[in-house]
Amino acid sequence: MSQSTAAKEKCKGCDREIDVCEFCEQPGCPVAICYSCVNRELKQTLPQPHAHGG
């Protein structure tokens, strides 16, 4: 069974391990960030205003 040898990075926002920075996709990014955190920080997702279906 093959194993990934890619070095894991940690998201600066949530400390979760990620394969590569979601913003710049550069290996070894010193300010690596995950998909969820970059979307939240750039406000690309809006918090759901209603608990119900609208």
Partner: protein
């Protein structure tokens, strides 16, 4: 808007009411106009360049580079017939072997950003990550334009 709100508006006498099912975020992601105080800050849509060179997967690097250079660019976006973004070519990729196919050298599935994102916040990220440009797309992945860090800096300097 909420479907219930749409129905209620109709009972109040409004006749031209639509329920935009995909929601406000999708509306803004298409680069459509908005109102309110948040609208005063420049967004990626205001500064993204729509004239960025584009190319297809099966073109040759040399042809695309020549076209981009002639237009004053050192970047190009790889799209399909529907303008959906497949890849990105920055100067490194454009300087690959001229005979190579674009699909072999492009940065596949690059991170893309929505038109409504604050230009100031994009600049913060672009500077931190040393990224010169970033593709701006609608929520269904279609190319809106390419946001250049230098354009955002110029806009911020002009504003201050």
């Amino acid at each position: 808007m909420s479907p219930r709100a749409a129905w209620r508006l109709e009972t109040l006498g409004f006749s031209n009411v639509y329920d935009y099912v995909d929601g406000k975020n999708d509306w803004m992601a298409a680069g459509l106009p908005t109102e309110g105080t948040n609208n005063l800050e420049p967004r990626a849509a205001d500064l993204a360049r729509k004239d960025v060179p584009t190319c297809g997967l099966t073109e040759k690097v040399g042809d695309v580079k020549a076209r981009a250079t002639a237009a004053g660019w050192d970047a190009a976006v790889v799209i399909n017939d529907e303008r959906v973004v497949f890849g990105l070519l920055r100067s490194k990729e454009l300087n690959s072997s001229p005979e190579e196919l674009i699909e072999k050298v492009m940065r596949p599935a690059p991170s893309t950003f929505r038109p409504f994102v604050s230009a100031h916040e994009m600049l913060h990220f672009m500077a931190d990550h040393k990224v010169e440009n970033a593709p701006i797309t609608t929520s269904d992945g279609r190319l809106f334009g390419l946001l250049l860090q230098k354009d955002v800096i110029a806009a911020m300097e002009k504003k201050s």
